[in-house]
Subunit: 456 residues, 2 copies
């Protein structure tokens, strides 16, 4: 193949050691957190530090028709950064530049920085970068942009797309373009910045991101409700969101509660059917009213215990418990990770339908959810050594997405389609939208080299 | 030409009277509020009421290679809905369907509804649609989507794109597609919903919009500052926005103040160099702190008078004065309307640069601004009967955009490029982005029939 013959050209064009072909190192870049056993083996790995090095890499890929998989921190839960046989993997892990501009309240960062590092740098300037995926301590900002990542505070503060003011992107042919900038409002030309957010590496490689920052989040009060049934909890979610816009409204079911308690030993209620964690960061009387409303709604929907605190550390302990769900449930077995979302009134039907699928397929499905915006994470647990159970888990994986589509929802609220969900995307969006997607992909990446197998 | 020969096919395919060729009626659909004297004369006008009728129209256009100009309420300030000779004008004015879904907190509307009608319908359900262009009482929601319209509250609450959850769009070949939906978060596939917002009718015809609604806006306190110089006022804007996120922060200069006072006789300070109107809708102590901060900043930046009120009617009177600026300044002569935006620290340089251009070209330029997000509206006044002055006004029009580009800003923050600003778009975004734009346009509208002459 052309790659091995021409790889020396790329090695020579980049700084010494930037191109890696060591099989042991490459093995660590095959899979992402989706742990797809079908992951391919890349031909080489490039770890650039500059936009110019990314351009050199993409020009070489274009010249030699070598596919490229862009990888951030490798935390994709949908196989978005799973390697493809013979591809070049471009890891952004060494692109770690950052500058904060207090005057424009923006952060301009390279994609390899972790979300938590951006948050910390903003905080040093008395500013706040809101999007907070549960994996914020280990996921990269480039991956957040690629998937339009969400998180816990997004029910009030929006998702990654709401904070991306500008991008630098290297296109399939190696050209680098700037989209948007530090200006807050911009209606000049097509919204290419917004098109690239969530495009999962199939349209270009993001090499710099300009993020809008906010003043610090006001301190939040937390309301926790313990429910005797998942339906009572999901009905309470609707009753809250119809009346206020909480700063957080998270759901955990019994399986996830017990898995987290096994991991963290923090005294979570093991016999609860569901837990809701609400937060209000409104100030003064408005905040008190939101807290009182959540308490009252939880109680009137049958919560057996309702607990409110204005201690940030106590509130954070519950949020941390929620964020620990995926690593905790991973202790129970291998996971197929769902990210289905529905319009809020369909949330109870989604959660009940997932339980029915769990029963039918005889697989454990833990459910956690960013309940306030209808985005749920059913986590399907299976033993890969048990072929029959694995098959039932895979059936359940598709049935959960089918259910979300039937409820006018989405197969992915914040993780992206990746490689694992693309089979369901046409069912959600339809053939015409798939054709539009392919046409735009072909317009920007005519040889189809960028992240092949993702979305399309 | 093919149009006149085949027009009877379209007439026959649509309900009686839906296709209009009466010259007197067509004359009213040549121009929009940009009043471009170079507007063309359309061959016919179609006023559909349903998506199916829009599809019929676009299929006919595709079959006969007839260009189509989509028009909402005709309030474009950049010539986005100016007619083209021989084109079909599709007016959405009769597409006025609306439904509010309180459970999902969404409005699903046809594009011809006015922004104010959407706001009013939401309010009837105790909900709020935030985006508030100054023209909100006369502009259509379809036009708002086409331009990614902003407004006064956008400094805190974001622009139209932040509220569009879903679209129905008829493509150039007549296919109707649904993008997004009522789910709040959606990372499934390319962000086509976001691509279509702000695409100014060049990628398709929006036939339905699903908008996110919020709980009602809390009542706001208003702080007004009267400044002896525009530089003092713009410095105060920066000092406010570095510390808080106000719910409104508007700027008016002396020309616009006097023009509005001539129109409204409300006692505005005729001898002020500039006026700032700030609002806080934070509740309780947080709101009091924001009001106190704006008062203190205005005073410390040399305001000769600072006035604060928690009376919503008084606050609205100042906002209404600001919104009246364009119609008021129109009384002084014909206008070339700018919409330039810059990163906030460059706001003083932009406002001072516009004054210098006004001096050099010897034309009056009134300046109003959504100052809190760096988006300004220099209004260039000229007498079209004075050829020399007209030429100088046109030079000033370009120089203001050149200045914004030099300050790393944008030629349009919320009005769109339309036909009047497209000459400056390449200078802002560069040749590569123009090529990407053309490639995406060609992918979705290969015959280039949709809103020709806009953006590209």
């Amino acid at each position: 193949m052309s790659l091995s013959a021409s790889l020396p050209d790329l090695v020579a064009a980049l700084p010494t050691g930037m191109v890696v072909t060591d099989a042991d190192i490459l093995a660590g870049y095959r899979q992402d957190r989706a742990q797809d056993p079908a992951a391919g083996t890349p031909a080489a790995l490039v770890r650039p530090t500059t936009t110019a090095e990314v351009q050199t890499t993409l020009r070489w890929c274009a010249a030699h028709a070598v596919p490229l998989v862009t990888r951030g921190a490798g935390t994709s839960l949908s196989g978005g950064s799973t390697a493809v046989d013979g591809a070049l993997v471009l890891s952004t892990e060494r692109m770690r530049g950052l500058s904060i501009d207090s005057a424009t309240r923006t952060a301009t960062v390279q994609p390899g920085l972790l979300n938590a590092e951006v948050k910390a740098a903003a905080a040093e300037h008395g500013l706040w970068y809101p999007p907070d995926p549960s994996s914020f301590e280990i996921c990269s900002i480039g991956g957040n942009v690629a998937t339009n990542a969400g998180g816990l505070c997004c029910v009030k503060y929006g998702v990654t797309a709401d904070y991306v003011l500008g991008l630098e992107v290297v296109l399939a042919d190696g050209r680098a373009v700037r989209l948007g900038g530090k200006q807050i409002k911009d209606s000049a030309g097509l919204s290419l910045t917004r098109l690239f957010v969530g495009s999962e590496g199939v349209l270009g490689v993001v090499t710099e991101v300009t993020l809008r920052l906010l003043p610090p989040q006001p301190s939040a009060c937390t309301v926790v409700g313990i429910f005797p049934s998942v339906s009572a909890a999901s009905a309470a979610v609707l009753a809250v969101t119809e009346q206020i816009r909480p700063a957080m409204l998270e759901f955990m079911d019994a399986v996830s509660l017990n898995a987290v308690e096994d991991l963290l030993h923090m005294g979570l209620p093991r016999d609860a059917a569901a837990l809701l964690i609400g937060q209000s960061d409104a100030s003064g009387a408005a905040g008190q009213a939101e807290v009182a409303l959540m308490q009252q709604v939880f109680e009137s929907h049958g919560a057996t215990e309702v607990f409110a605190t204005d201690d940030p550390a106590e509130g954070e302990a519950f949020a941390a418990a929620r964020r620990a769900a995926i690593p905790a449930v991973e202790k129970l077995g291998s996971l197929l990770l769902e990210d289905v979302g529905v319009p809020l009134p369909a949330l109870p039907a989604l959660i009940e339908g997932v339980a029915a699928i769990s029963d039918t397929q005889r697989v454990t499905i833990a459910v956690v959810a960013h309940a306030g915006d209808g985005n749920t994470h059913p986590l399907i647990v299976f033993d890969p050594a048990d072929a029959d159970q694995t098959q039932r888990a895979q059936l359940a994986f598709g049935q959960v997405m089918d259910l979300a589509i039937a409820l006018d929802g989405t197969i992915t609220g914040e993780h992206g389609v990746g490689r694992l969900k693309k089979g369901w995307l046409p069912d959600q969006v339809g053939a015409d939208v798939m054709q539009m997607t392919a046409a735009i992909k072909a317009a920007l990446d005519p040889d189809g080299l960028l992240n092949p197998g993702v979305i399309l």
